[in-house]
Symmetry: C2
């Protein structure tokens, strides 16, 4: 029977039991942080060998460049080759940057504000807007907010953002672009279907300077061998000649080390030319020693894929622990829905409408920090107050089990509180 | 006797001899690049030990943070401490960033364009201007040019920029700031005197959002133990309460590895707060493993200073080779003046007015690439066409001697050409 079908009396009894369980948990003085999608220590250990100086003792790249010195602003040719292979684009369409794809995206938007993306600088075009498939990645929204770009929420369907809604919204020429995570979307772990990718490629926005930031953060981050493929956006663009509309980014933050990995841009010839021009003013070069480490350690795309299987072996039990727990605790109660991602770093949990903030707050008071409720929505405002991003990667399986135990109590308690207050 | 005092006949004879010498050089098929201020391989070798993984095998920072993972956007506390010690500011006024101080400066200007520095965004204030002490660093000028900021040249005197000129120019509220390299200025190697630093600190610009980018690129890059001290700008500011006007940057690009070092911002509490806010949106963290490497390898400011003595030992003979050659070739001829820096990466050579482009072109045709003539001036335009930036650090002493031989021939030849054409 669902909570909604229970009598007030039954609910009050359940609520009393839950309060009791909750207070016991609180007394244990837990201290767990599940707020961000961070790799665990065990995952970081997988990449320690890359730090072996033998990989860079001969610091000469294939073309003879000394990677210890200035130069090669677009990245080592062999490193561009490696990521070109992984992303399915020619090496000339890849730029290897520093450690942060977020920084690439921020810079790209900053550049559009100041210099534009083919038309007037965005900053001089008055109010401009971006489409935000939501739930989405909070840091994308923060970037847009920081530049004063108005965010318009687009609902996420099972196979990607609602393309019908997007088709309507882009008739407004002040709508200048869109952020998305096409594979294992943050936080739902959804993969854009081939049909959605094709519709994205075929978009006909009124704004000629419309740009989609294709944040392929989890491009090789599969949990299972049966993982779904993401259609190559640049291949899809060919039919429409829309390559200039897409800026793809990726990084090794969750392949080797967050903060000490490399990030890449994949873009059309035209966009590479523009970014190259800006980058030539902005920086002399990125960390080529780190690029060389990555290339020599992984050798090729297969090397990275093999490495990702080792990550998956660590992550699978954690994702499974969450899904099994949700299944056993919530099935049939009518108080929670959740996604079952095949990769990425998150699971999205929808609790009873109006309860997400309460759940996060209850967990926090008992020592488990979750991502703030609403974080996955523009301006941090979840219209239904129901979405909670679960980040199961960082804690150990034991810690995770404890945190899940608490979380499930809190989800039920918040639901019981709400329903009893309503009756 | 100076070239100017010679008869046309004497000059023509000299010219003929020089053409002869030049053609012989050309036939040798040299291929040397002296265009940029790059460390030599020998210098890079000095820092190879920093790559020993033993320094980061225990990747836990002093406060227990795992440097392999996300977090600590302002940089490791111990690394902020290290650079605070070197720059004479409290650690809380330091942010440790990625590999590039140029990138910090670019970002800072970008931020001022989009969000302003205490007033309206610069981009919405119409035409704005920057003061450019010249000769100066070409990449500073390129940043300003890329943002469409008008550059006003300020003459460099012996002890820094002409402060009387600056005092006049800053009465214009559209003058928003100034770039400078206060120690071993690029390319002249001049050090701002204490009086100039004090006058800088005491500037009273009409624009309340005026900012000085204090590019302390060569802060520990002395060639001699008797090197002049640069007055600490933030100490100088105390008297005037003008700390917010200055953004100081530095890096280890020429201490460890260009591209694989760390860079820092030193700024007032207010500015750190603003930069922190922006940086929190822009990037999750910089490369903390590299920060940890630097801290553990150098230990403290003395460690860096000792390391710089090893650099100086390699660089001194190169600087001396240039100065001795110029002295022996040009003394008394009236066709060249040059600076005698006590540190930094450059020597500035002034040839006969109207001859710099010709000299650079002659050298290039004979296989020696110098920095483009005019590069040290806003818009790449040297009004006198006389300045050439000499970058003696990268070639070996042998290569440098060859290049100098050629350069001296070209300087004389260009002078002889000009003077014979005039007579």
């Amino acid at each position: 029977m669902t909570y909604q079908e229970l009598s007030q009396e039954e609910l009050l009894k359940i609520k009393a039991e839950l309060v009791d369980e909750y207070e016991k948990f609180k007394a244990r003085g837990l201290k767990l942080d599940m707020s961000r999608g961070k790799p665990s220590s065990e995952q970081l250990d997988l990449s320690m060998d890359i730090l072996d100086p033998a990989y860079i003792a001969d610091a000469k790249a294939q073309d003879g460049v000394d990677c210890r010195n200035y130069g090669v602003p677009l990245g080592l040719p062999e490193c561009r080759e490696l990521f070109g292979e992984l992303l399915g684009v020619p090496a000339r369409n890849i730029i290897v940057c520093g450690n942060s794809s977020l920084n690439i995206m921020y810079d790209y938007i900053a550049q559009c504000m100041v210099s534009g993306s083919g038309a007037e600088p965005w900053m001089l075009q008055g109010k401009i807007k971006f489409l935000c498939p939501a739930p989405g990645y909070d840091r994308h929204f923060k970037v847009l907010e920081s530049f004063g770009i108005e965010m318009i929420t687009v609902p996420m369907l099972e196979d990607g953002p609602d393309m019908d809604v997007i088709d309507e919204l882009i008739k407004d020429p002040s709508v200048k672009g869109m952020f998305c995570v096409p594979k294992y979307s943050n936080p739902e772990g959804k993969v854009f279907s081939p049909a959605v990718v094709r519709r994205m490629a075929g978009l006909k926005p009124a704004a000629k300077d419309f740009r989609v930031i294709w944040d392929n953060a989890y491009f090789v981050h599969d949990l299972y061998d049966t993982a779904p493929e993401l259609l190559n956006i640049f291949e899809a663009c060919r039919e429409f000649g829309s390559e200039d509309m897409f800026i793809e980014v990726a990084s090794t933050s969750k392949i080797t080390f967050p903060g000490a990995g490399v990030s890449v841009i994949a873009a059309s010839d035209n966009n590479i030319e523009l970014i190259k021009k800006r980058m030539g003013v902005q920086i002399i070069c990125h960390d080529k020693l780190n690029q060389l480490r990555h290339v020599r350690y992984f050798k090729n795309a297969d090397g990275i894929k093999a490495h990702m299987k080792r990550h998956a072996a660590i992550l699978r039990p954690k994702f499974q622990a969450v899904l099994e727990k949700f299944d056993s605790e919530f099935s049939g109660l009518g108080i929670a829905r959740w996604t079952e991602p095949q990769g990425g770093y998150f699971i999205s949990l929808d609790v009873l409408d109006g309860c997400a903030k309460r759940v996060v707050s209850l967990c926090k008071d008992a020592g488990v920090v979750l991502t703030g409720a609403g974080a996955a929505f523009p301006y941090g405002k979840d219209p239904k107050d129901s979405n909670i991003r679960i980040a199961p990667t960082y804690p150990s399986v034991e810690e995770l089990s404890l945190a899940l135990e608490l979380l499930c109590i809190c989800v039920k308690l918040a639901a019981a509180e709400k329903l009893t207050a309503q009756k």
